[in-house]
Structure formats: C-alpha cells, structure tokens
C-alpha cells in the first residue's frame, strides 16, 4: 500500500461520485451532463448554511461530516486493482461494515438536529431499519470471507479467480443487496430520506449550501463504496478475460450502481414496518444459515 493510497481514495471518491451522478441521470432517462452537475454543485456552495431552530443544532451541523467520513472510510476498503487494493487492513471487510455502521448515527444526528417532526420520524425509521440489517451485513461479510480464509477484501477477490462468489453463494448476494441498499439510503428502501412523504429530502431536507453539497457527495460516495464492494465481493472484482484489471472493476462497479439505481426507480418505496419485519423474520436467520452454507462450500470446494 503506497503512501499515496489515501489520496487515490479521495480522487476515486470525487470522480466516482461524478460518474455515478451521470449514471443516475442516464437511468432517469435524461441526457447525462457532468459539466452541469459540477456547476450546480459549485453554485450550491454559495448559498448560506441553514441554521435550524433546534436545541441540538451542532448535531445537525456535524452530521454531514460524519456521513462523508463513514462513506469515504467504507470506500477506502474497496480493492480496485492488484496494484491498488485500497487501504489494506487485515480485517478490511469488517472495517467496511463498521464504516457503514456509522451512517446510522449520522442520519440520526441530521434528523434529530433539524428539529422538524417529520425529520425525527425519518431518523427513527432508519434506526429501526439498521437494527434489523446490522446483523445480516456483518454475517454475510464473514460468509463471503470464509472461502478466502481471510477478512481482507483483496484476498476475497483473489479466491474468486475461477468463479465469482455470486455463483457460489447466490443466497449471500440476495441477502446482501437489500441490506446494503438500505444502508446506502437507496431508493426502494429510502425510508429516512423519502422525498415527498417526509417533506423535501426527509432527514436531509433542511441542509443548504455547503452542507447540502456534502450530503449529496456523501450519498454518492456511499453508493460508490457499496457498488464497489458488491463488485469486489460477489462479481470477482478485477478478474476478467480481456480488459485490464482496473477497467473490469470500474465497469462492474458502474454496472452494479446502475442496477441499484434502476431498481430504485422501478419499485415503489417499501414501507418501513414491512422492511423491518422482513429483516428480523427472514434476513437474520437466513444470514446465519448463509454462514453455515459458506462453511460447507469452503470445505467442499476451496480446501
């Protein structure tokens, strides 16, 4: 891991977020225009920062920073190429889950600090949802790490040189996707930032100026991290026949990002009580089963 890895992660965060914004426009049917996105972002910086009349105002102003910090920490764990494997940490997959776990306090601080009843309702909804999906995310991470025998994402990608994990453990992917979409506030599960229903952008509706730009950047970096880790853990990362490694990883990440955004458009928002019920009654026991099956497949095929 060279000394420039953190800088590289920042660059990937910036350009990746821009690329995903264009993908978002394409999925929504509009013509992608990165210049206009960048200009809007810069323009929004000139707006004054909103001051909510709420007692815990500084929680409100701390939330975007924590959200961006947890998004970038999650992105840092994604292995992009054999040459650049992100910030190499021995238990990188667990650090990815730990980083995603800090989206919950960030959303709660934003909702609570903004002082509006609907935002507080959105914050509580997200908290209930994350309680349900905290265990599946951690369990599926270990289930996927079982064949590789190591929690480092790069090792997990190495073990998928023959067959991607999505084919070996399809059930893990099926449990991973809803959990990860819920964490990254993506459409059919965007109970906390439900536009229209919770007024404006729900939990984040009171942000203007720099904080609104930070929140928008953080949400796209979160989508980038989630799509990247899904590509790395389940679609074989940089393994691919012809193209160079990094290109494969970029293509897979953008494909997963576009797929998640498309699913967001095509399905109506799922109600929170159904989501939480699905998490506790099905996702948690199934993820425990997934670990057992992963152990079995590891013994049968990988040892």
């Amino acid at each position: 891991m060279s000394d420039f890895a953190p800088l590289a992660v920042m660059l990937i965060a910036g350009f990746g977020a821009l690329a995903l914004a264009c993908v978002e426009q394409v999925v929504a049917g509009a013509r992608p225009s990165p210049v206009r996105i960048a200009r809007d972002a810069v323009l929004s910086l000139r707006e004054p920062i909103a001051r909510p009349q709420s007692y815990d105002g500084w929680l409100f102003h701390l939330a975007p920073a924590l959200l961006l910090l947890s998004a970038i920490a999650a992105l840092a764990m994604v292995p992009w190429a054999p040459g650049f494997r992100g910030i190499e940490v021995e238990s990188g997959a667990i650090v990815f889950a730990a980083a995603l776990a800090y989206v919950t306090p960030a959303v709660f601080m934003a909702g609570w600090g903004s002082g509006r009843p609907l935002a507080v309702v959105g914050a509580f909804r997200f908290l209930a949802l994350m309680l349900g999906y905290a265990m599946p995310i951690a369990m599926i991470t270990t289930a996927v790490a079982a064949p590789a025998g190591s929690l480092a994402p790069a090792a997990i990608v190495e073990v998928q040189h023959a067959v991607p994990m999505a084919l070996v453990q399809p059930y893990s992917l099926a449990l991973w996707l809803p959990a990860v979409m819920a964490v990254a506030l993506l459409a059919p599960f965007d109970v906390a930032t439900a536009p229209g229903e919770l007024g404006g952008a729900g939990v984040f509706s009171r942000y203007t100026g720099l904080e609104a730009a930070l929140v928008a950047l953080a949400r796209r970096v979160l989508l980038l991290a989630v799509a990247g880790m899904t590509a790395a853990l389940f679609l074989g990362g940089w393994h691919g026949p012809l193209l160079p490694d990094a290109l494969w990883m970029a293509l897979k990440t953008l494909a997963v990002g576009a797929g998640l955004l498309w699913a967001g458009r095509v399905f109506p928002r799922v109600e929170n009580d159904r989501l939480v019920a699905f998490a506790w009654t099905f996702a948690v026991p199934a993820s425990i089963g997934a670990i057992a099956l992963a152990g079995l497949t590891t013994l049968l095929f990988y040892r």
Binding site: A28, G29, E47, P48, A50, Q53, S54, Y55, G115, R116, P117, L118, V120, V121, F124, R125, A187, P188, D190, V191, A194, P195, G196, E197, G199, G200, A201, S205, R206, T208, G264, R265, V266, F267, P268, R269, E271, N272, D273
Partner: protein
Amino acid sequence: MAGHDPAGLGLTPVAGAEAAEVLLASSEVPEPLASFVAGELARSPGLQVVGGMVDLPLRGRLLGDVVGGSPAAQGEDPHAGHDMHGGHDMHGGHDMMAIVGEPSADGLVMEPIDFRFGPVTGVLPGGLAIEVSLDGDVVASARVRALLRGGVDGPRDQPDLLTPIAWQVAVAVAAERSEGAAPPARLQWERVAAVEIERSLSHLAWLRSLSRSLGWAQLVALAQRAIIAVAPHAGLPAPPEGGASLAAAEAAVTRVRRLVEGRRFAARTRGRGVNADGALAGPNARAAALGVDTREEDPLYRELGFKAVIEEAGDARARSLARIFEAQASLGLARLALERARSAAGAGTLEAFATGGVACVEGPRGPLLAVPGAPGGAARFAAPGTEAARTAAGAAMVGLEWSAALVVATSFDLSPWVVA
C-alpha cells in the same frame, strides 16, 4: 400543475418546497397561501412566485362569459402559531417526572408528535394541509384542511379552480336552461369532449401526486408523459387531426394503467383506507360500489355508449383503479364526441338534463351542481360529497403508519378549492 411539462420550460421539479427556487401556480396565488409562501418559503433566497403564467387557454372562447375573475379566497387564515417549523413541540418540557397521556397500542405512554403536513408539499395539491398527531410513526389522529377555500357542500359563489371546464359547462347549461335557449348540437358535443378530456387530465395529475407519495419514480415519469400527451387537447376542441393524437394519448394512458393494475401498486394500496361512507360521491363512491354516475342519464353519453366504472373493494387500490379506468374511457368518449361535433348541425336538444333549472355535470371528483343566479348576478355552485371525502380521508389515516396514511389520504383526491 396539469398540462405543462416543467422540464420543457427549462425547470426541474424538486421534491420539497424548501429546495424550490421557482413556485409555478396555475392561477394567482390566493391570500392565505400567499402569506404562507411569503412567510415560510421566503427563506430560500431566489424564490419567485410565478402566478397566472400557465392559465388554461380555454376560458372565453368555448362557453361565453367568464365566471368571476380571480377567486377572492375567503379561506380562514392558517393560525400561524402552530405550523411545521415552529420548533419541535415534541420537546415540550414536563414539570412532572412521569410522562402522562393514554397508553399507545403497545401499552406504553408516549408523547404524541403533532405537526401540520404543510400546504405546500411535493405530494398533495398546493393549499391542502393535514394536521397530524403521530404516536411514534403511527397516525393517532389526522384532520385534512384546505387553506384556499373555506366552504361547505352548500352553494357557494366560487368554482373549484382545479377543474374549471366542468364548472363552467354547468354554469352555461344552467344559464341556457333558465332562459330556455337550446345551444347548437355542435357546441354540446364539444362540451362533452372538453369535460371528458379535463377528467382524464385531472385523474392523471392526481395519479402523478399519488405515485410521488408512493416514491415510485417510474410511475411518476409515465404519468407525466401521459399528461403531456393529453394536455394539448385540453383547451379547445382541436381541429380534425386532434383525433389522431388522442389515440397516442390513449396509448400513454394504457401504459400507466398496466402499472396501476400491477402487483407493485397493489402491494402498497390494497386493503388500505377501506371506506364505504354513503355520503361519498364521484370515483370515491363508485370505488365502493355505492355512488351513481350522473353521466348515465345524459342522452348524449348514452348515445356514445357510456358505461360507468364500478369497483367493489372501496380501498385505496379500488379508488385508483376506478380513476385510471375512467381516465382511459374519457379519452375514448372525447374522440367519439369530437367526431360527432364535426358532423353535427342545427340546434341541439334542450331537455338534455332538465332538473328544474339546476344543471348537473359529472366532474372528476363527483357531480357538480350549478344554480343560475339572478340575471346579472353570479351563479351558485355546489359539490356534494366533498365534506364526506375530507372526513373520510382524515378517519382512514388513523392507525396506519405515516407513509401508508399519506397514500390513503392522497387516494381520496381532495381539491384544496372545495374542501372545507
């Protein structure tokens, strides 16, 4: 804002009012809403309220004199003290240590969260507000209020500006009937076409706001495309080629209908907000197999082979299905009416709807009655069933989680102009 594609005007619709920079209104913004807009939304610097820019281009030509200029709204002013941004009343301190109140469903006593789902939201038509008391995220009590027009079912002198054509047809028919003059047949057929097209436009605009509350981007886009296809015909009975593009509009509405009938829509709306209140009218009643469609007695419609759309379930899904089937059927009726209008000649029949001087037209939200005023005075209007719809919407929200409750409230298609 039925009929015009905001993207076409170089504007992008925004989820909530806070993030908006331009607020487009289809007519001048009436007083109580204007004060709200000035008070609440003046915060975002560049907000301009562009009123009257998008006036439906139909008033004068088709139906004679225009009824009463811009609506002098006498709705009671929103008691500003209790609005959404007035700090979070949830934190009201209690002197006693113990929290008092009646226990909620799971036996725990919780402080209710009271707020007003404001008049300007991305979901409900502007001017309609819901005062909600949440227990956790389940609705404990809800009351729908319109800030634009105080008014009861009884006769009033101001029409509902969301469906102007239907009201003006009712006034014209009432005036003709009181003078006993029969309008030319061609005009009668054009009126039928105009009312039907406005009905499908109103239903599509309502479906767009419902799909926004469902958070379903695909249905919003399809509804928007259907509205853009239908809108050019809204104003005048277009020249002959109008018939052809009406078919394109019908195709767009069919695509929307397929989604509304699908499982994804049913998952969010089936079995929610069941209401079979006898006093309901229009699609809300027909969705519970209660109401009657006044168009069935109208000889003109009978000639076009009109059959009323009746659903049984009476829940949010049945109301949606009833409205989307009507929207599609209306386009077919409009096409037939336009063909007859071109071929018709001579005087039309007068006794089309002789109910003692009171003209009745089936508007998108139920029958609209118009009583001709004294010669020279303004006509009086009545829309039975709107008060019942308002109380039914408030009652149906109780006990549901907030997102489901909002979907149910939107499914009653209340208009801020006539709702009390």
